[in-house]
Amino acid sequence: MLHLKGVSKTYTSGDPALSDVTLSVPKGQILGLIGPSGAGKSTLIRCINRLVEPSAGSVTLGDVDLVRLGKADLRRQRRRIGMIFQEYALVERLTVMENVLSGRLGYVPFWRSFLRRYPARDVQTAYRLLDRVGLMDRADSRADALSGGQRQRVGIARALAQEPELLLVDEPTASLDPKTSRQIMRLITEICAERGLPAIVNIHDVPLAQQFMQRIVGLRAGRIVFDGPPSELTEDALTEIYGAEDWNAMRQGDAEQAEAEADAKRRMEALAQ
């Protein structure tokens, strides 16, 4: 479905963000991209829909090479790729409905989008998606009136409104609490399964990735250093991806947090009695 071949990116500052990344994602597969910050996860998924221009290599979706497209063709191909963002990236001052309908922008002429007169089918799709993500009653609320989890649901509905063939998901849970994070990850994986939609998910939370992903790719300093199912993601593999020091620190941090949370819970229970 999606093939990346020798994709590299060097920013104008001279830092190589990606070097020679080759990767294939078959239809229906949910792939988790893990790695320390600065490993090039965001750059990699942005090279696919060319929000970042790759310096070298090819990206083929179906049988179209996205890297070689002109401006108008790129816009037409971007419709096939839905994207879900870290911190939602909703247009805050527009309503939920306008945000979801903005997923149709690539399909409608300017005057329709400007006057907010979308074709009946698009409106129906938007309502169906809002119902699917559980926000039917918030359609006319402004996006900035929603909670974090609700906003990310709108983000998901906007991406699906494009009727995409591929989902790019950039740290979908970075600013959400643990419980909401799980709900959002579950929603994304369910929707992908319903539609046989392949997805690339940037995720920094290793346990979350192991729980929800079918395949894990580890990125370190712009190179792929691990590629396999979550069950093969051993301590050694994680040390390879994150470096010994960082991985130990992360694990220790997780343990400390779990302890602190358990402690807080005990206190709350004691208070309740």
Partner: protein
């Protein structure tokens, strides 16, 4: 217990920085003294010592106020408000596209169009509305139109500058997200950028209208219509009781416009 081996002395600035600051203040005081001297050299002190008596004299001539003059002033006052409002509309309409050309993140050409847009903004800002009016009265003749165009030209710079700064401060992630759906350039503008700058746009426009009410009251001094014409006529005939009425009327209008603008801006933001 032994004393901790830490210094008890700390200064916010190094000795050198302190010396430089002290010298700076000294220069400033010296400059002030010198300026004072230059200023007083050419002053005719007879006039200055006479000032309280002159002020009292004019004040006395203003009293009693010529209230019968008010009905005659209402039409020019209406003209003044129209000059300010139509001038603001015109200025905002011209500033809007210029702001998009001037903003770094929306300009279609950073090498040619952006400098041109920035130049228009600076040119408009550097010339006072009164001077614009003086030029326009000579070009298109005296009257309301000259005043409206003067206010509009003066407003381009103010509105354009604040608006392009608002455009540059928009959240790039929201714009990126709209672009990622496959939206065209105009659609990205409409969905990604416009919603983010609308509060700034209305706030700036209303604020400028409020300033323009004040500026348009004096445009009549150079023949560009409005209540300034009446003010000029009354000053020329030394009718101080009429001048006082006009000044009070202007004061009332400005207070009212500030109140309206404050209310509107609060409602928007």
């Amino acid at each position: 217990m032994t004393a901790a081996p830490y210094s008890e002395i700390w200064h916010r600035r190094t000795p050198r920085a302190r010396l430089v600051r002290w010298m700076g203040w000294l220069c400033l005081v010296a400059l002030f003294v010198w300026c004072w001297q230059v200023m007083t050299e050419t002053t005719i002190w007879a006039f200055v010592t006479d000032a309280p008596r002159q002020a009292a004299d004019i004040g006395g001539r203003m009293w009693p106020l010529e209230w019968g003059y008010v009905p005659e002033l209402l039409l020019p006052l209406w003209d003044t408000i129209n000059i300010a409002t139509l001038g603001t509309l015109g200025g905002v309409a011209m500033a809007f596209p210029i702001a998009f050309l001037a903003a770094r993140n929306t300009t279609p050409s950073a090498m040619v169009l952006r400098p041109v847009a920035l130049f228009i903004i600076v040119a408009s800002r550097s010339i006072n509305a009164l001077i614009w009016a003086l030029l326009l009265v000579a070009i298109i003749g005296p009257g309301l139109l000259a005043g409206i165009v003067a206010i509009a030209l003066r407003s381009i710079g103010f509105v354009g500058k604040l608006l392009y700064e608002a455009i540059e401060e928009t959240d790039a992630r929201q714009i990126e997200a709209v672009a990622a759906t496959g939206a065209s350039g105009p659609q990205v503008l409409n969905y990604g950028i416009l919603p983010q700058i609308m509060p700034a746009f209305w706030g700036i426009s209303v604020f400028r209208w409020d300033i323009n009410i004040r500026e348009s009251t004096i445009l009549g001094l150079v023949g560009a219509g409005g209540i300034g014409l009446k003010l000029n006529a009354s000053i020329n005939t030394l009718a101080w009781d009429e001048v006082a009425v006009i000044l009070l009327l202007i004061l009332g209008t400005v207070v009212a416009s500030e109140w309206v603008s404050a209310r509107l801006r609060r409602a928007i933001i």
